[in-house]
């Protein structure tokens, strides 16, 4: 026990004395939490729209105004020149062209129907698709608005219409930061835990102090625990800091209890620390350890359901996402923060994560040899 305390003390001194680790633990989470949720979300804004208006009627101007007022579109160009519009798409200045034909208003008034055409730049498929969908629903609403104006309330019309009313659960304001921030917190904790551990042990290898440790009576588990405990505490500090920022900047307070989150986070941390240890056991230099943990992090992050929906992945990719520990924590985090899940609701995930923690750490202890 005394040996363990001595090791932990030494680790803390070294970590706190190193400006790089301090930055990694404290500055990075703050910056990432402030920047990422505002930049990286699924919402498409600033769709560049080019309008070709051959009609120049009151109606076409009103439609243009309606589009502008939504805030989703930025009207990049307006005119009658088809060439200019094509050029705007080709040079990526415009994402969508809206064609208003010459007799748009007249046809609508006289014949009761009229057409519009949307042309979409589909290079960025998501942006194009979402933009077209926004535009369609916008035109649809515009359509029913003028019908109401011209023919009176829809209730008095002969043909029935189906209306839909949506109710958004768990995140009623559809606030994207509510969706993103819990996940980003998980990723931060993962980066801190994995990088610190893997680099830490390899550093001792590089400077040669590990040999001095290996000729000492320190036991394997003492050495590894002595490395894990400080990283564990620092990871928890980083996460607490993250929750503080989430509350301060985004007003995010978990619906469930912090206790549930910290319980799961503790088990999760040990899993990630175990992976970090494994990486360090098989790396000879800090660069190697960095590259290996960077590679693992890439897969962990991209296959975690944070930035891409797991449901829309192909079957083989879903399997990767299913064995990815990050997926579980993000899922649990969202459930606790947004739905108010309690410890009982996350039992299956907690069980799986405990198995992971046991597995990675056993492998780490097993693969660390005091004797070569």
């Amino acid at each position: 026990m005394r040996t363990l305390i001595v090791i932990i003390q030494k680790e803390f001194k070294q970590i706190l004395r190193n400006p790089a680790t301090i930055k990694l633990i404290f500055v990075m989470p703050i910056l990432q939490l402030i920047i990422l949720p505002n930049a990286a979300d699924y919402e498409i804004k600033n769709i560049n729209l080019h309008i070709i208006d051959h009609d120049h009627s009151a109606l076409s101007r009103r439609l243009t105004e309606n589009i502008r007022a939504t805030g989703y579109f930025r009207i990049e160009g307006y005119g009658t020149d088809r060439k200019a519009a094509r050029h705007a798409i080709e040079t990526e200045k415009a994402d969508i062209i809206l064609n208003i034909p010459a007799s748009f208003e007249r046809n609508l008034v006289r014949e009761g129907k009229s057409g519009l055409m949307i042309e979409v730049n589909a290079i960025n498929g998501v942006k194009g698709g979402m933009g077209a969908a926004y535009m369609n629903s916008l035109i649809h609403r515009f359509n029913s608005d003028i019908r109401t104006e011209w023919t009176g309330d829809e209730r008095f019309m002969q043909a029935g219409t189906i209306g839909t009313t949506s109710s958004f659960w768990f995140n009623p304001e559809m606030n994207y930061s509510f969706f993103m921030v819990p996940g980003i917190l998980v990723l931060l904790l993962t980066i801190v835990a994995m990088n610190l551990t893997s680099i830490n042990i390899v550093r001792e290898k590089e400077i040669g102090t590990i040999e001095q440790i290996n000729v000492s009576p320190i036991r394997k588990y003492e050495f590894i625990l002595g490395k894990l405990v400080p990283q564990f505490i620092l990871g928890m500090v980083a996460m607490t800091l993250g929750f503080g920022i989430a509350r301060l900047f985004y007003g995010i307070v978990p619906m469930g209890s912090y206790l549930t989150i910290y319980l799961f986070a503790a088990v999760y941390m040990f899993t990630i620390l175990g992976i970090g240890l494994l990486v360090s056991n098989y790396s000879a230099t800090q660069q190697q350890a960095m590259l290996a943990s960077f590679f693992i992090m890439m897969i962990f992050v991209l296959m975690s359901g944070q930035y891409t929906s797991i449901d829309s992945m192909p079957e083989w990719a879903k399997w990767i996402a299913r064995v990815n520990p990050v997926t579980y924590f993000i899922e649990v985090m969202r459930r606790v923060v947004l739905k108010g899940a309690g410890p009982g609701d996350i039992l299956p995930e907690l069980g799986i994560m405990s198995a992971y923690a046991l597995l990675t750490n056993s492998l780490a202890v097993f693969s660390y040899h005091k004797r070569s």
Partner: protein, 247 residues
């Protein structure tokens, strides 16, 4: 004083078909300063790593402080000190913190560490640098501190692997003064070196060539038997026989 603390009998270490250490046998008495010489690649470091329990021998027998190198490596580790070729204190810890850490992992109590480190720092002339980072000290001071830390927990045996590499002659002399003091306290010193003047300071010297011990005697005895004026000549005579290339 004829108690043996290190015994080796036909101790061998092979890596594949390369025999790094080839059936070496010798004994070292308690309190003795035993010089372990050999050209680069002769197998010194491998032999020393076997004695410290860092690698398992392939065959042969050896005991360190009465403990078997196959089965009782953890007991060996409690009873030895070790100073490697590479500087092995933490540059980002202070002098006192390094002492606290290394003494602590050998199970010394806080009180014992405190009582012992004050006179040590005074003796080393490092009282003013107690709270300075070790990284900021000159190399000579670092090496002396390393040695002091290696014997701080009063081991039976201390293994020194080229402890004075890159150190100036004055510091080397001071370093050997410290080795003598340790030997006076009955700590056995097992030391490898490439400096032949240092070999003269040892009680007994062995010379390894191609994994085998070619000669073992007091420095005086070796000079006599080889008809040489200095240890340097003895070493050159023996090392020339080497077929293996140094690294």
């Amino acid at each position: 004083m004829n108690e043996y603390v290190i015994t080796a009998e036909n101790l061998t270490k092979s890596f594949g078909d390369f025999t790094a250490v080839d059936r070496i046998s010798f004994e070292v008495r308690r309190g003795e300063i035993f010089g372990f010489l050999g050209a680069n690649g002769a197998g010194k470091t491998t032999a020393m790593r076997m004695f410290c329990g860092l690698i398992l021998p392939s065959s042969g027998k050896a005991s360190i402080g009465g403990f078997d190198v196959y089965r009782e490596t953890e007991a060996i580790k409690r009873n030895i000190g070790y100073m490697s070729q590479r500087f092995s204190l933490y540059d980002d810890l202070t002098v006192q913190e390094n002492i606290n850490f290394y003494a602590g992992i050998y199970g010394m109590s806080r009180k014992a560490i405190r009582e012992k480190s004050a006179p040590l720092l005074k003796q080393l002339g490092l009282e003013a640098e107690r709270n300075a980072l070790v990284g900021s000290l000159p190399l000579g001071w670092k090496q002396k501190l390393s040695f002091s830390v290696a014997i701080f927990h009063e081991p039976k045996i201390v293994f020194l692997d080229e402890p004075t590499g890159g150190v100036d002659p004055i510091t080397r002399r001071e370093f050997w003064q410290m080795i003598y003091e340790a030997s006076d306290r009955d700590i056995t010193v097992f030391v490898t070196t490439h400096y032949m003047d240092e070999a003269e300071y040892c009680h007994r010297v062995s010379v390894m060539v191609d994994g085998r011990i070619e000669a073992l005697d007091t420095p005086g005895g070796l000079k006599k038997s080889h008809g040489a004026a200095s240890m340097n000549e003895v070493f050159l005579q023996l090392a020339r026989k080497a077929k293996r290339k140094g690294d």
